[in-house]
Amino acid sequence: MDKHWNRYHRKQSGDFFDELITRTGRPRVVASTAVKMLRSLTPDEMTVRRGAAELAIREMGISFTVYSEGKNIDRAWPFDIIPRIISAKEWKKVSSGLAQRTRALNRFIDDIYNKQKILADGVVPAEIVLDSGNFKAQCAGVSPRYGAWAHICGTDLVRDKDGRFYVLEDNLRVPSGVSYMLENREITKRVLPELFEHHSILPVDDYPSRLYSTLASLSPRDQKRPSIAVLTPGIYNSAYFEHAYLAQGMGAQLVEGSDLFVGEDDCLYMRTVDGPERVDVVYRRIDDDFLDPDAFREDSTLDVAGIMRAWKLGNVAIANAPGSGVADDKVVYAFVPDMIRYYLGEEPSLASVKTYLCMNAKDRDYVLSNLNKLVVKPANESGGYGLMIGPKSTAAKRAEFARLIEANPRNYIAQPTLSLSTAPTYVDKGVEPRHLDLRPFILQGNKTWVTPGGLTRVALVKGSLVVNSSQGGGSKDTWIVQSNQS
């Protein structure tokens, strides 16, 4: 019956924490019911379920766009049917750690664009903030409501071999992936309905209404139903599906730059068939630099001239606020635990990864002589681009990165290679361990709210640590399960 699972724990190629199965091959307590049920499925049944999931994905039109060979291709979302399961008790701690972290980051951004006390007190070196390309001088002096700048934060977590969660990075600009978290649950309900009978799984599908409440709380006008617009770069953006999905889920307008204009009264309007309609809150899914040609790039075609002026005057709220990226710099990351102590007077409850800043001579020397052990990352790239995983690199690659670091030390950090945890994943040869991470989303408006779980991304290639969907990653449904034993 459970041929697929045969010797699962022996397939581990190293010292990793597995999310569902212990080192002795027994299911973890929280996952035992689910694993038992999954193991009872014959290989044929597993194939049928996977086929049903693929069909659901096609029918629901869940896709992401990749740019390849000069063309934009709409690809079906790669999905693994075996859920990743975390106990509610453990999640409660992670969740409060995430909320704590996001509160501190928002305090930091607000401080940087206003009094800069943390710099004056020498807790964070001024030059790493003020000389960074992520620091937008245009935002100085602005005080968004509730001091909230990064209203939607996507924080990447990984679990090391000790079983602890670590924060890998904070995404404070335009984090994506939340629609896939919601759709993954929908698919699992369709293809493995019997699993839901015996579990009490925290629901995720109220995210769009939580997002709506968060955005509505930012409205500059006192209105029962503020006018909210989701600003997308358009159909060719890789996350367009998500932009449309969220707009629909919130009953908001999905707009492009050309739909908006700033009137003579410095308020933001949409062009509608009934004439101009005031916009209170913009949930923008385009980068700062493309937002306003008056303030940032003149050559942007996605932009809305004057939107920064309207924002600074408090006539429109922008989420995430322009300039929020100042806090998701990978160099700034190293200082987040200090920020938490500084602003909140609390000890950080979520661990960060030990980070070497190449700008410090001592750290740099260590990094350069240990390149084969470390992961080297550029301070300012996302999507898994431009990084080097030391243990998997070639001598030539290491030499190249040594040169890059010497030439621009501020732009590089290094971290020890984490042993990303694994979970059983259904692949062609049966069920095998694959590495994964987790991206929960944290909302910050008048209140702080954390998604129960998040988006689990899984590297479908054996042994690979790269989980990005643009580079061969897939995803899993993520369950936060309440159980008496855990």
């Binding site: 159909i235 492009e256 009934d274």
Partner: protein, 310 residues
């Protein structure tokens, strides 16, 4: 609340869907007609190209053989008069307005697109042509039916409806104009086939049965023109389309100019008398009518799709 950009895309989605169905109907009816007429008396395939305004695209010097014309209309995705082109354009418009349309709509339009991508080039010859055209027509009707039974009667519905009706009125005049032109020319040899041709034009408008019931079994030029132009109960008649357009314009803001342009065209339709009109007059009327539709389309576009910043 409806964004101008979204309204514009809905309007064009509807126009392209209607154009797809009309082109398929016309091609279908024409293929049947040609089979009925004795060799030597049949009108040429060029008529199809002219009805669809494709003369320029078709290219000079290319012979109007059945193969060439059908390849042009069914097999050539890059030509704006072709069925696959219209389907592709409709799909692009749906792709970017999915958030205001019923969920299943995207699926159906996408399936229509995939079907045409796969089948169109294989369906130029007579053997597969019928099946292909039937399938395209019935898928278009399914999409149309889905829209009519699920869309809220708000702005989205209004602009979809405007697109459908304008395109339909336009196509009806084209069919009568070019069809009649070919029929009424003096060089024709065999007048005995004229009723067959008029019947086929009625069929391409799905109006044959209604004509029999309403007007009578004898198919005759002046009565056909009158029926197709002025019978307000026939969903593809000019009268029906114009009345419908008016109904959708009335609830829109800033509609004065559009209603004015439309009413001018409606009045000229009321005055038209098919019994007295000769071929020349019919053609001039249709010309004026189409200019009226184009002006209306221009007003709709400048009033609601490209509003100024105030």
């Amino acid at each position: 609340m409806m964004l101008s950009r979204v309204a514009e895309r809905l309007y064009w989605m509807a126009r392209y869907l209607e154009r797809t169905e009309n082109t398929a109907r016309l091609t279908q009816a024409y293929t049947h007609l040609i089979m009925d007429i004795p060799a030597g008396s049949e009108p040429g395939w060029d008529i199809l190209v002219y009805i669809l305004d494709g003369g320029h695209q078709f290219g000079e010097g290319r012979s109007f053989s059945e193969q060439n014309v059908l390849k042009f209309l069914i097999g050539d995705e890059d030509n704006p008069s072709s069925i696959p082109f219209c389907i592709k354009a409709a799909r692009e418009n749906v792709r970017t307005t999915r958030d205001v349309l019923p969920e299943e709509l995207w699926e159906h339009v996408n399936e229509l697109y995939l079907y045409s991508q796969e089948q169109a080039s294989k369906s130029v010859g007579r053997r597969n042509r019928h099946g292909f055209l039937e399938e395209v027509i019935s898928r278009c009707q399914l999409i149309n039916g889905l829209l009519m039974t699920t869309l809220c009667r708000d702005h989205a519905y209004r602009f979809v409806k405007l697109g459908y009706l304008l395109e339909r009125a336009d196509m009806t005049t084209r069919i009568i104009d070019v069809g009649a032109g070919a029929l009424l020319s003096n060089e024709r040899l065999n007048e005995a086939v004229d009723p067959l041709i008029w019947a086929s034009l009625l069929r391409s408008l799905s109006a044959m049965d209604s004509y029999r019931r309403t007007v009578g079994p004898l198919v005759e030029a002046s009565a056909v023109v009158n029926f197709v132009f002025c019978d307000g109960s026939l969903p593809r008649s000019l009268r029906f389309c114009l009345d419908g357009i008016r109904r959708e314009l009335v609830p829109l803001k800033n509609n004065a100019e559009a209603v004015k342009v439309l009413d001018r065209t409606r009045r000229s339709l009321s005055r038209f008398n098919s019994d007295k009109a000769g071929r020349e007059e019919l053609h001039r009327f249709i010309d004026r009518f189409q200019t009226g539709l184009n002006t209306l389309s221009g007003v709709i576009s400048s009033r609601w799709f490209m509003p100024l910043n105030s």
